[in-house]
Symmetry: C2
Subunit: 209 residues, 2 copies
DNA sequence: GGTTTCGTGGAGGTCAAGATCGGCGTGCAA
DNA sequence: TTGCACGCCGATCTTGACCTCCACGAAACC
């Protein structure tokens, strides 16, 4: 009848509010990444954090807000990473490589946070859709500025090219991660795709065959 | 305007089994495309088809099976389209262009069936994940054969490049469709991205700067 | 050391959505 | 004309997940 008298590792320990919130966010990210939004239950998140559900609801108004908090972090992370990569040099070839590596780093690390952005199962929710689209748009816009500055293309044209490069990075990085081939390391894959991107984009708008 | 010009779905009219099934599939595709899997209710699908829910369950065992039937059609369509495009010529530059146009055609037409493949919100379901991954894999493999035949790269390398090109086509086509800019027609966008892809992939494995 | 306060925990309400049963009407055959 | 068979519909059930209510215990303060 009585619960285990000896103190469980985390069960029952009181934490400062911010620490508790951080712990809840971490637990929620693990569950959302592993199961997606719909298959993730608030019970699972609370259990994973070692607390009960009311505690969760004292920190977040609902499941959607909890998800959006994590999604915002993930979106900000990848966008900032890409922007930093683009600002890291003035050599466009190195820029392409740095940006490609930024995508691969993000996919390979960040505890799978990329799944929240690139594999969300809540894209019908307008708030989610808006954030996910914003990531592609922001990354592409940063790339597009570099393209249009050097190539003299129209805004729509350079945006389509930029989105193409972003899609290339995003899809290939996810494929590389899913393949999980240890004989094909991250650096090598990212460099290969970066060379593909650079060969494609350099020299625009030359139209030779 | 409704996209059903002639079929008069009168409430209470009896249809042959196959015709009814086709009608149900069409209605289900509209609802799934518009709302995604989770937000789509079986009631909505039945209403859209002008029948009641029991009829739906007499044709399909459950919601998942109905979805998978549609998903299979969409997957087969895009894979076949890409394979046809690759077989349509022996000139690799034209191959790239034809394949890119295949993606753009698929996204622009097919009543939004591409959403089932590229924007599914049921990727946590293994059966769905398997089919969606299979599309990218099959398309990339077809592209990869052409690449490795001409470039002498390893299988893993040519697959990563092929997946990159597929991702480029897929993401840029969806972006172009979402932008909905009438002054930037499909043909022009597809050609632009095709030229990006061709500049990138031609001449591999040259490694000059 | 006692009291007060606040956070925690288990048990429960509510509701939406997938999945199913008793009437009903139509068309065919005798 | 009339009985029969078959497919369709309204109404219902159940499940599962999000979201709160009543006891307990630990910390803080005088």
């Amino acid at each position: 009848m009585s619960t285990t008298p000896e103190t469980a590792p985390k069960r029952g320990s009181r934490l400062p509010r911010l620490a508790r919130r951080a712990q809840l966010l971490e637990a929620a990210q693990e569950v959302f990444v592993a199961n997606g939004y719909h298959a993730a239950a608030m019970d699972d998140i609370a259990d994973r954090a070692g607390v009960s559900k009311p505690v969760l609801y004292q920190h977040f108004p609902g499941k959607l807000e909890l998800y959006l908090a994590l999604l915002d972090s993930s979106c900000d992370a990848i966008v900032a990473s890409v922007q930093d990569a683009l600002k890291s040099t003035e050599d466009n070839k190195l820029r392409v490589a740095a940006t490609m590596h930024a995508f691969y780093d993000y996919v390979a690390n960040a505890q799978g946070a990329f799944r929240l952005v690139f594999e969300s199962d809540l894209t019908n929710e307008p708030a989610v859709r808006e954030r996910v689209d914003r990531v592609t748009h922001a990354c592409a816009e940063a790339v597009s500025e570099v393209i249009s500055a050097d190539a003299g293309l129209s805004r729509e044209q350079s945006m389509v090219l930029a989105v193409s490069l972003v899609g290339m990075a995003q899809v290939s990085a996810r494929y590389w991660l899913g393949a999980g081939d240890p004989s094909f390391p991250q650096q090598q894959a990212a460099d290969l795709v970066a060379s593909l991107a650079w060969r494609g984009i350099r020299g625009f708008p030359r139209t030779d065959t």
